[in-house]
């Protein structure tokens, strides 16, 4: 009973996800087709890893608006290194992730040690990283080629891509960190009541630095996945991605006020958003109506969550 109650968060949205799948399968005969599944899974990895980072930032009552731009900066860095400098692909991917880490660490240092609001700092980084991405790529999309595309293609014998496997690994690690480690407990405490955490001897600053740096690094990893998916480095990639990540986290039961959130829930949130998008496209809903419905779903999710908070069990 306790276990059920503890996982109520996840159970509830998993149920929503299943309902959504059933709903689209009922409306559209070929929703369960291999092509649909492939389309959905291929979109997933970048949004998934970015959402994991976002969820951790939201749990400590922060926000990271820069993830979309950092993702594109990481992708363009990889593009230039591979095409222009002929750096080996694995090294270039690592450089992309480190670029993201550097952006995130800069965010984190400004927020934690200079006490600037995360909203403003990451808004500034959103602009700066996007500008840098254009500068790095000369505002052009750089074609990288099939070498990087291998990351996004299904592995023979496994059926899913390396990117998806890594993304699922990141979700598992994030979930473990939040549920089982002392560090995760401290993040929850800081987000829930920073003053009380301080009086329990927990210093919020290194924690804040860590989550924002991690969010940056995961956005960098998202850049790798994005470049792999497209086969090229696009400086326009990831525009508005921060909003999708926040939406996925919130649908997954994460509070924007901090102190409450689930990495696993956020992943299901990603699935819900992706399936909603594909499902609506499948049944022939126009792009404007898709956006209308997606927005309504996000607000309904928060309303439902608020209602469940007031009426536990």
């Amino acid at each position: 009973m306790n276990a059920i109650r503890r996982h109520a968060e996840e159970n509830f949205i998993v149920l929503s996800l299943i309902l959504l799948i059933v709903f689209f399968s009922w409306l559209s005969d070929n929703f369960f087709s291999v092509i649909t599944l492939k389309t959905i899974l291929n979109q997933l990895p970048a949004l998934t890893v970015v959402t994991v980072g976002m969820t951790l930032v939201l749990i400590v009552a922060g926000i990271d608006l820069s993830v979309g731009s950092v993702l594109s900066l990481s992708a363009t860095v990889i593009g230039v290194l591979v095409v222009g400098w002929h750096i080996p692909l694995p090294l270039a991917c690592l450089a992309g992730i480190v670029t993201g880490l550097a952006c995130g660490a800069a965010n984190g240092a400004l927020v934690a040690f200079f006490r600037l609001p995360a909203f403003i700092v990451t808004l500034g980084m959103l602009e700066m990283a996007r500008g840098l991405a254009y500068i790095v790529n000369n505002s052009q999309t750089v074609y990288i080629g099939s070498s990087i595309q291998a990351i996004a293609l299904p592995l023979p014998g496994v059926g899913v891509s390396l990117a998806l496997l890594i993304a699922i690994g990141v979700v598992a690690a994030g979930h473990f960190m939040m549920t089982r480690t002392v560090f995760g407990r401290h993040l929850t405490a800081i987000g829930s009541n920073e003053q009380a955490a301080r009086m329990s001897g927990i210093d919020a600053r290194p924690h804040r630095l860590f989550v924002l740096a991690l969010s940056g690094a995961l956005a960098g990893l998202g850049g790798v996945f994005n470049a792999a998916y497209l086969g090229s480095a696009d400086p326009n990639a990831g525009i508005g991605l921060e909003l999708s990540a926040i939406a996925a986290a919130v649908i997954g039961g994460t509070s924007l006020m901090g102190g409450r959130g689930s990495v696993l829930g956020a992943f299901v949130g990603v699935l819900i958003i992706s399936i909603l998008q594909s499902g609506l496209a499948q049944i022939g809903v126009s792009e404007p109506s898709k956006r209308l419905i997606t927005g309504a779903v996000i607000i309904s999710a928060v309303l439902l969550d608020r209602w469940r908070q007031k009426h536990p069990q």
Binding site: T181, R185, A189, A196, M199, G259, P312
Partner: protein, 512 residues
């Protein structure tokens, strides 16, 4: 009855425990009526009920013979009830003039009439003795004393029938207070009824016509001011200084120091403080609200910046100089803040998470052993008789007393040998209070060192080996168990407020 400004009949108010009990009070036109009492006697609650900030439970209030039932401060203002609050209600980002007229800015159509605003503000500032403050300066630039005068100017700005003053002179020098008193008399002379609350008993007797003593929410006496003395009032406030004897077994470890504070000064504690708490000893910190009790405990836990001095933890033969709150926790010091909601609980988190936090901070392992954690939490819950449905239950669903027990359990679990407790029984029912006392005795006999700040003198007299008294941020007296009386402690608490030089010192310290 006709010439009564205010008449209160059988007023009751309780938050879990009764705060005001069958209060009856009458104030005539032009009467200055002082209300005195210890902390928690119900003075501020009475003011809050009259302003409309707090709803009453039962009883009736008549203003000029008409029933007065305010639902909000707005209703109060509309009925002609004006007040100064102990927590100053100054908006720092606005100008001095805008603060005074916040409720009704002079306007031409929808546009603020600046010249009228500044002219009216100038007159009011000059009246209360703020002639050196420009009407267009930001309120943020004012010292604490100036802010208090600004709050007073704000209250007397509106046309009112009843003026409620809650500690209007707490931060003022004698000269400034005299000025305020003169203005109060002028206002009363126009027929306004005034309720005046102050810790400065000499001022109370000097300015008011009559004095009501509140104790534990009940009216003890109402007398004419010229037939009362400060000593009479203190005696009435304490109920004659009843000592509740309780023998505490001497603990053999009592000679070993556990926590030593040497020459400590902070922004809020101008005098250097020296204090030693021994193993197996409970040291009490007494003092009125705002006397620096919380600030002392915060500084000892290294939450506030020390201007000088040090906090040293003795562990067996070793000594450690405490550098930060984190360092304090690591060296076995626990801290219970005065405000459970903002400083203690993690809202939205379960009982378990709330209880286990500092322990996992101390553990070397990185992961949490869910089974061990649960077992320990259950044991602690049983030991402190905490009432909860499940360990996952949101802490906010627990009663105040049970929340407090969870927070104490947090530090027991952390194995803290030194506990700094700020108002540990605030807002806690009588049964839990007793349970907390018993727990403190048990910890004491186990050799824990405990420093407890409380505004309830009888609580300190029940649990402490020693009581230190803070008055106006200065350590003024120390009493040993058995050699104290409530009256002595209380008059020590008041001592630094009546002394002119002391007030001036606190004035010059001010707020930057």
């Amino acid at each position: 009855m006709k010439d009564l400004r205010l008449s209160i009949r059988n007023l009751n108010k309780s938050y879990n425990v009764p705060v005001l009990k069958n209060v009856n009070l009458s104030i005539g036109r032009g009467e200055i009526h002082a209300i005195v009492g210890e902390n928690g006697a119900g003075k501020s609650t009475l003011i809050n009920v009259l302003t409309g900030l707090t709803p009453r439970d039962s009883g009736s209030i008549f203003l000029d013979g008409e029933s007065y039932e305010p639902d909000s401060a707005g209703d109060g203002f509309a009925a002609g009830v004006s007040f100064t609050s102990q927590e100053l209600s100054i908006v720092e980002s606005l100008t001095v003039a805008e603060n005074i007229f916040l409720r009704q800015l002079p306007r031409r159509h929808a546009i603020v009439d600046k010249s009228a605003l500044h002219a009216a503000a100038r007159a009011l500032l000059d009246r209360v003795g703020l002639d050196y403050v420009a009407t267009d300066s930001r309120a943020a630039s004012l010292s604490l004393a100036d802010r208090q005068l600004l709050e007073f100017a704000k209250a007397i700005n509106a046309e009112c029938r009843l003026l409620l003053l809650d500690e209007p002179t707490a931060a003022l020098t004698e000269q400034q207070a005299d000025r305020v008193h003169a203005v109060i008399r002028e206002i009363a002379a126009q027929g306004v009824g005034v309720i005046y609350i102050s810790h400065r008993l000499d001022d109370v007797l000097g300015v008011s016509d009559s004095v009501t003593v509140l104790r534990d929410g009940a009216v003890i006496s109402t007398t004419a001011a010229d037939s009362s003395s400060a000593a009479d009032l203190v005696s009435l406030m304490t109920g004659g200084g009843v000592i509740r004897p309780r023998d505490l077994a001497a603990t053999d470890a009592a000679s070993r120091p556990a926590l030593v504070v040497e020459n400590m000064c902070t922004a809020n504690l101008p005098d250097s403080v020296n204090l030693t708490c021994h193993e197996g000893e409970i040291v009490g910190i007494a003092g009125l609200a705002g006397s620096g009790k919380s600030e002392l405990l915060r500084a000892m836990f290294r939450l506030d910046l020390l201007h000088s001095g040090q906090v040293i933890r003795h562990i067996k033969s070793e000594t450690v100089q405490i550098q930060s709150a984190r360092h304090a926790v690591r060296n076995g010091i626990g801290f219970l803040g005065e405000n459970r909601q903002t400083m203690g609980i993690f809202p939205g988190q379960g009982v378990l998470t709330n209880m286990m936090l500092p322990d996992i901070l101390r553990s070397a392992a990185c992961t949490v052993d869910a089974t061990v954690e649960k077992t320990v939490a259950k044991q602690l819950g049983k030991r402190l008789a905490i009432r909860y449905n499940s360990l996952q239950q949101d802490i906010r669903e627990l009663s105040g007393g049970n929340q407090q027990k969870v927070l104490i359990a947090r530090w027991l679990n952390a194995g803290s040998a030194v506990l700094l407790l700020d108002e540990p029984t605030r807002g806690v029912d009588v049964g839990t209070k007793q349970a907390i006392y018993e727990l403190l005795f048990e910890l004491r006999s186990n050799g824990n060192a405990i420093v407890i700040a409380s505004s309830e003198t009888d609580e300190l007299m029940t649990v402490c080996d020693r009581i230190l008294v803070l008055s106006n941020r200065h350590l003024v007296a120390e009493f040993n168990r058995g050699l104290w009386s409530e009256e002595e402690i209380l008059s020590a608490s008041f001592s630094a407020y009546t002394d002119n030089t002391m007030s001036e010192m606190s004035q010059s310290e001010g707020v930057q």
